[in-house]
Amino acid sequence: MSNQYKLVSCIINGKKVEKMVDVRASLTDMLRDDYRLTSVKKGCEVGECGACNVIIDGECFNSCIYLAVWAEGKEILTLEGLAGPNGEISDIQQAFIDEAAVQCGFCSPGFIMSAVEILEAKREFSDDEIRKLLSGHLCRCTGYENIFRAVKKTMLRRLGKDAEADLV
């Protein structure tokens, strides 16, 4: 094809940005190559592993099977966007660190973004619900156990249930 580009304007990690984007690009391509947001990982490129997961307008999407041009007008959040203005990290990131939920680290960014969506619901999910909400990610290092702990503990702490969180 003759090269086809389109101006894509969106908000990425709180900042309004726009760039000419190759219409053939996936959102993964755009975030990694055009914005150098390399926390967005490529593990399968067909929406089966969850490593490229980002939040778009409050919902999680595998950016590998999301066309970059669809980002027009959207608000996108990647792991890089979770840090506070002075680089302080969020409670869920700290929980991943504290619970040894991070091993090789390749699936971690995608998982943390799904955890963010779960926590934003501001309600207490059952264990089975948490598992289901995180089931769009594959991990080969952790057996999911410590990721489960990190997410559940953070959920309970945000709901003011610190004592219960300590028992997870």
């Binding site: 190759d22 053939r24 391509d29 929406g47 066309l67 669809w70 027009e72 909400l133 769009g136």
Partner: protein, 295 residues
């Protein structure tokens, strides 16, 4: 990057139809969770795409004037599951599409895409068949509506003529009023999987909950396209709610279904599972409808 020849972005249904007429070879892309995967595989590589993803008028769930439930074709699975109208009248559809892939897939995948790709394993399809859904198709000649079982022509092929797109799926009031149903997805793992067999059953019980006034059952992956099991339905209509009725009903599905042998599962295994699913899905439907099957 995807190997596409060109991308046309439709801004409205009419615009999409116009683009389809201008580019008859082009492939429609809704959420893309199938089309983009196939494009990467090489199957659809080099094709023109018409993206309808940004057409918001095709999203959402509402009542039509006659009480039918209208589901815009671009409504995502997760939005169907969360929708209050669906929860009230046809919760089983919300449950069924909540078993597609994983959460991210359910946010991008659309009910229109799930039916237009014409695959037998689609988690929405057996439930839509079991509830006598109607497909709304919009094209250059206007709007037409056809029963969902007519929409499926053969594996991978649906009744969309040049210039046409599917714009909505409708569940008529008579199809849902008084019915309760249950869907069982049989898969090899509990998430991120496609159905080995899917079975959706719904029933309407008599007022005293002792008789099955109507029962409908449909399968995915029991044949090349999603299908009803009419012989099984006939065995149970008007019959008392009983263990015997359920048994006979479940066995009878073998007269209707035609699963194939493949590396994903043997025919014998699928047949065995189809009977077990029919039995369990009917029992659960009866329970949801307020009936009780004696053990």
């Amino acid at each position: 990057m995807y190997d596409m020849k060109a991308l046309y972005e439709a801004e409205s249904v009419q615009h999409a139809i116009q683009l389809l007429i201008e580019h008859p070879e082009a492939q429609i892309i809704a959420g893309g969770s199938d089309v983009l995967v196939q494009m990467r595989e090489g199957k659809r590589a080099g094709k023109e795409l018409i993206s309808i993803y940004m057409i918001d008028e095709m999203r959402g769930i509402s009542y039509e004037e006659d009480g039918a439930i209208r589901i815009g074709s671009l409504t995502s699975f997760s939005h169907i599951t969360k929708d209050p109208i669906i929860k009230e009248h046809i919760n089983v559809l919300g449950e069924a599409v909540d078993m597609v892939g994983g959460p991210q897939i359910r946010n991008i995948g659309t009910i229109g895409g799930n039916t237009c790709n014409g695959v037998t394993s689609a988690d929405s399809a057996s439930t839509l068949h079991a509830w006598d859904a109607v497909v709304e198709i919009t094209g250059p000649e206007g709007v037409r509506r056809i029963p969902i079982h007519e929409f499926y022509i053969k594996a991978g092929v649906v009744d969309l003529k040049p210039g046409e797109i599917q714009t909505a799926i409708i569940i008529p009031k008579k199809s849902y009023e008084g019915y309760k149903g249950h869907y069982i997805k049989y898969a090899m793992r509990n998430a991120m999987d496609i159905a080995t067999t899917g079975c959706s059953v719904n029933v309407k019980l008599s007022e005293d909950k002792k008789t099955i006034e109507d029962v409908r059952i449909a399968y995915g992956v029991a044949g090349p396209v999603p299908m009803r099991a009419p012989s099984a339905e006939e065995t149970a209509k008007g019959k008392p709610v009983s263990k015997e009725t359920v048994k006979v009903f479940a066995k009878a599905v073998l007269e209707d279904i035609n699963p194939r042998d493949s590396w994903r599962a043997s025919k014998a295994f699928r047949q065995h599972i189809a009977v077990v699913l029919a039995e369990r899905a009917l029992k659960e439907s009866i329970r949801l409808a307020g009936g009780e099957v004696d053990e």
